[in-house]
Symmetry: C2
């Protein structure tokens, strides 16, 4: 009987860096699909900040945490190698929730067939959770209008870089916040952002003021951290804030307080949080909104590819250190 | 030449209680209306928390502050005593922005004629800013649904008491937060709230949990203060928060921080601030929404009447001490 390698979650985050001490690699038998099932050989796995939430047993969260002893949850790209479902054939390229594993036995629900012209990195960087998330948050909550100013944190990340490029294509002034000068240069020189700010700089307030001379109309929040309040203070009247992620706060026992609500009133701000499980039923419409931008060459991406299944265990830390350059993908 | 008494703002708030040291009473000549103008003899003046904002030279606020040396701004009720406008006749009962003064010379803009059946206290307590504010915030942002739970702070105030009664009439579980046991009893026994909490109690968290066994779906915020975060923590997924006032924070140099945005994401909350100057053009529709509730006897109110123009100068402090019992009105 052939086996495949998978990685199970065996310990909850404890404040220390995510690492092999939290996981248990196992060898499992390659299963045979029953009626309606599809066996996928995964070639590329997506690492996403949402995974940090999935590892925590927080019953208030929007989807149940991964149970200890289960294969770690993740989204990925692969090829159908056996199918007992009429809509999927051997050789089809697909994305879906495959987990940290070389093989996955899945149903048709949530399995997406992709044309061969979409390569795995593009599939996981654009036509996946990051693209759906960017479109949902930017248009439903952000309501961007040409001539306005948008600021996005985590701007060099997979969601942030797409949000900024979409807004730029729509005629907004776009400012990105990222964690290194290299990323800032990439945002401005490669993606066409109007300005980019390294949040580790010590003259943050001055940089922020210089980059947003007309204030801020749309704030797409991916990170949290001290810059949140500084951005908040520059919001214009009737500004919109889409709260998508708070990577700087996820593992803190006591998260940073938010800004006072005084300016929520004075400036009549609209703040709204969202998570994609609420909106996945709209995926076709969201992708329809996204596709023309991609076709017109307005959405660039870069993938940060880690090699080998085991690299996922330490790879997640790159979200905390900001060490990733582009969409984190594990190549199996 | 006949004169009338008015009170000018002569000093900005300085952290001390609002009082006569900030104002200058003056005697002014009673003017004669020119073409298009109306002279109103004011009999009742409304005191509102918004006035505290109007005294501060904060250019970010939604309407310009009262200039030093000008008559203090306010809304009131009076009778037309001379008119050079075709739509208003001597003897008409009207509400409008008359200021702290016995007489006001105004244009037709913002002047509302009322039937004689609406007495002055009802006019200023319901069919005025409080009623418009309650309807705008509750329905546009709160989106109340029968069976849900609503909590309102400043619940015994003019806006809060109306919000609670509207929601109760709509079939929600309604919990009020107020600053005295007497007010809490009034909310439950007279207005029919399901529960009321004195925010000065020391077992606030327990009381809050007991009063909202199914969590909170709509939070109508009038006060700010430490209870804000405790209420926030009990919000249900997809909860709505209408931020209307933060009386506890208006005069603080450093306002209390708001709650972390972690739960904005986890619970996909919608937080929105609003101020009525943005919505006054919709006043007819808002009053139309409100009127049937009043006609059906579902909206009770109580007025806290102060005697004499000069009582306004110290009367505003009642908002800070919570010493008012019902809508603050100055009878001239």
């Amino acid at each position: 009987m052939q086996t495949y390698r998978a990685i199970q979650l065996s310990k909850r985050p404890d404040g220390k860096p995510i690492g092999p001490h939290m996981f248990t690699p196992v060898d499992l038998s390659i299963p045979v699909p029953a009626e309606g099932q599809i066996l996928v050989k995964q070639s590329h796995m997506s690492l996403d900040p949402a995974m940090l939430g999935w590892m925590n047993p927080d019953t208030e969260s929007y989807i149940p945490p991964v149970e200890l002893g289960s294969v770690m949850r993740s989204f990925g790209y692969g090829e159908v190698v056996a199918s007992e479902h009429p809509n999927f054939a051997v050789g089809d390229k697909v994305t879906g929730m495959f987990g940290w594993a070389e093989y996955a036995l899945v149903g048709a629900q949530g399995l997406n067939k992709l044309p061969a012209s979409v390569n795995p990195e593009m599939a996981l960087s654009i036509f996946a959770l990051p693209g759906l998330t960017a479109v949902q948050g930017l248009y439903s909550i952000g309501q961007p209008k040409a001539g306005e100013t948008l600021i996005v944190t985590g701007a060099a990340g997979s969601v942030g870089s797409m949000v900024g490029q979409l807004a730029k294509a729509d005629g907004l002034r776009v400012v990105g916040v990222a964690g290194s000068d290299e990323k800032c240069q990439w945002l401005v020189n490669e993606l066409g952002f109007d300005a980019a700010i390294n949040y580790k700089a010590d003259n943050l307030a001055e940089q922020l003021a210089a980059a947003t001379p007309n204030g801020i109309d749309v704030f797409f929040e991916n990170t949290g951290g001290p810059i949140q309040t500084q951005i908040f203070e520059r919001m214009n009247a009737h500004g919109r804030i889409a709260v998508c992620g708070l990577i700087a706060d996820y593992t803190k026992a006591t998260p940073t307080p938010g800004p006072s609500w005084i300016n929520v009133i004075k400036k009549r701000l609209h703040i709204e949080g969202f998570t994609m499980p609420d909106h996945l039923h709209k995926a076709p419409q969201l992708l329809e909104k996204l596709t023309p931008y991609v076709m017109q060459g307005k959405i660039k991406y870069r993938a940060h590819v880690l090699e080998g299944l085991d690299s996922a265990m330490t790879g997640l830390n790159l979200f905390f250190t900001g060490g990733n350059q582009g969409k984190l993908i594990v190549k199996l």
